[in-house]
Every structure is written in C-alpha cells, then in structure tokens.
Symmetry: C2
Subunit: 206 residues, 2 copies
C-alpha cells in the first residue's frame, strides 16, 4: 500500500476525487447534455486533456458520479423496520431524508435530472434494486396497516409523498431561497417538524 511504486495511485485517487466532485457540481445543475468536459476540468483545476486521461469519455465520468450516490439513496429506506414503532420509524425516515437533502443537495438534483431525462443510465437500477426494495417496504407499511397501527393508505404513495416532500428542499432550493429569508438551519428544522406532524396527524383539528 505504501510502497514507492504506488505513489501515483494516490495521486490518481486524489485527482479522480477532484473530478468526481467537480462533475457532481456541473451535472447536478445542467444535466448530462448541458455539461461540458471543459467546465468539469476547469472546476477541478486541470486541463480537459488531463481529465480525459483519468476518464476516457464524458459518459464514464457521469456513470462514476451516479454510482457514487446510488447507495446512499437506498440506504435510509432500507432501514424501515417492521418490528419497530411506525411513528418512530416514519419520523426517523423523514428526518434522515431531509438531512440528506440538506447535506448533499447536489446528489438529489443529479438524481432528479437523470430521472427527468428518462433515466437513460439508471433504468435497470430503478426496475431492479429500487423496485425490489420498494415492494419490500410497502409490505412493511401494509403490515402496520393490517395490525391497526396505521390508517389504510396506499403504501407506495406514502413513500412517494415522503420522497417528494423531502427532496423538494434540495431540488427546488432556488425557488425556496426566493420565497423565504430563513436561515438554512431554521428552514430544515421547520420542514422536519411540519412534515412529520402532517404525515403523522394531518392538518385538521379533531
């Protein structure tokens, strides 16, 4: 690992990281076709030709960035546990998803861009891993419903609602910034409280 001959490997790793970081910046804002290699290279502080030494084609960069975020995408939903209390579980899920939106809004936007363009790269991921996981977690929610712990709602639409409402704070950050003067921290704290409160108890007064 630390032999002199591997010194270049560490440089490569560092440069690849710089490229992936810059690529996430550009792809998340302009999508695949709206981003140029030049922009990525400039943001990563190297020449276009040098970037192409590390990734032979633009598509390879895009795939590498996508792969680096797909895992963290599945993980929070995967944690939903049928044997725990649904109120605690849903509250924790909402909080985790919101925290992800706050800490890595670019990943959320990159994902949204890819989906809105028809998911040309991750269609298999959606139809396989994601579908499998969602079906599994719909059963968890259905189990809570069958045991009288939750109202009889359509589980998949509950999941969609939580996805949409939490990712909104990352994907539409520009719009939200234009509508409020709240600090980021207050914004996310209010979002967490309001979201959990509405999902769990609704807005109506009994």
């Amino acid at each position: 690992m630390n032999s002199p001959t591997k010194k270049t490997t560490r440089i490569q790793a560092a440069n690849q990281q710089k490229i992936l970081e810059a690529a996430l910046d550009m792809f998340s804002q302009f999508g695949y076709r709206g981003t140029t290699i030049d922009q990525i290279a400039a943001k990563a502080g190297m020449s276009k030709a040098n970037l192409l030494y590390y990734f032979r084609r633009k598509n390879d960069v895009y795939l590498a960035v996508l792969e680096s975020i797909l895992d963290q995408w599945l993980e929070p939903l995967a944690r939903l546990d049928q044997d725990k209390d649904p109120e605690q579980e849903l509250r924790a899920y909402i909080e985790t998803k919101l925290r992800l939106s706050q800490q890595n809004p670019r990943a959320s936007r990159l994902f949204a861009n890819e989906i809105m363009q028809g998911a040309p790269m991750i269609q298999p991921f959606l139809s396989n891993q994601l579908k499998e996981l969602v079906e599994l977690k719909c059963e968890v929610i259905q189990h809570w419903i069958d045991n009288g712990k939750l109202q009889p709602v359509k589980p998949m639409h509950l999941i969609f609602m939580i996805w949409a409402s939490t990712q909104h704070y990352a994907d539409f950050a520009t719009q939200i910034q234009a509508l409020t003067t709240d600090t980021d921290d207050k914004l996310y704290k209010d979002a967490s409280q309001t979201l959990s409160s509405i999902v769990l108890r609704g807005v109506l007064v009994d």
Copy 2:
C-alpha cells in the same frame, strides 16, 4: 381579421404553435442547454432555418414556452379562499394540482428543470409574483390556524409539501413507471385519495 392580407398571419400562428409544442417536448426533458434547435425543428416538422425565421434565437423560443405555462402555474394556488372550509379548499387544491400534473407533465418538468438550473430566466418571477402570492396564501392558512380550524403548522411548508407531492407524479414519472404497473388513471386516483387523506388526517390511528 379575415382579410386576405392576414392569411400569412394564421399560418404564422399555426407554425408558432407547432414550434412551441415541440419546444415544450424537448426543453422539458433535456433543459435549455441540453436541447438543440435542430431537435425542436425536426419535431415540429420543419427545417432549422425555417424555425429561426419565427424565433430569431434559441433563447426566444425558450422564453415563449416558459411564458405560456407560468400563468397556469399560479392559478390553482390563487384560488385558495380564506372564507371557505379549509378541508374542502385543501382537498380541491391537491386535486387540481394532481390533475395538472397528469394533463401537462411536460410543463411541470420544464418548470422543474428551470428551477434546478438556478432559475436563470424566471428569478424575477419567483421573487416578485410568486413570492407575493405565496405570502398572501400563507396568511390565509394562518387565518385558518388562528381560528382553530387547522393544526398549528408552518403554512409555507404545507404549501411546499403539496407542491412537491403533486408535481412528483409528473417530474418523476419515469421512476414511478418503473415501480408500478398501475394504469395512469388508477395511479392518479390513488394518489389523490392518499395525499388528501394524509394531509388532512395523517397516517396514525388515534
């Protein structure tokens, strides 16, 4: 209006419509930078040069498409009426927004694309018209809260939640298609019921 000299005007109007329709198709999927004039022209059934006779630059086409959808964007929220029953009003708002998503998903995606790219064209719209309207409607919701008709939630975050949850069915249609085999009609019917039910009463059993 019907004089022979205006015959060309009707042709112009028809061609402009064809261009706007094709442009909505492309811009909503690939964003501004990801769309080429060639693609729009091909989809509109004319040559690139001919398209540029009607709109001198790509940017003019984009602005025309954006303008054509901004009104329909504000209208449903503008209808929220402080003097009516909040349950009926919120239910109607959710249904209207969902119907818009179903009937014009491209408009929703175009708007989302513009926002995610930093709203370069409609920043003034967000900071002026939209902000004004949202502040007004937050007061309506706050009025309902003050009168004990709604739980004390943050009004703006309730609006964000409804926006996000309803637009999700348009913006993330590709993902949803990959996760379910429901027909479009069943999907939106379930969405409407689940969304209204959760927003109004939550998922918890009393």
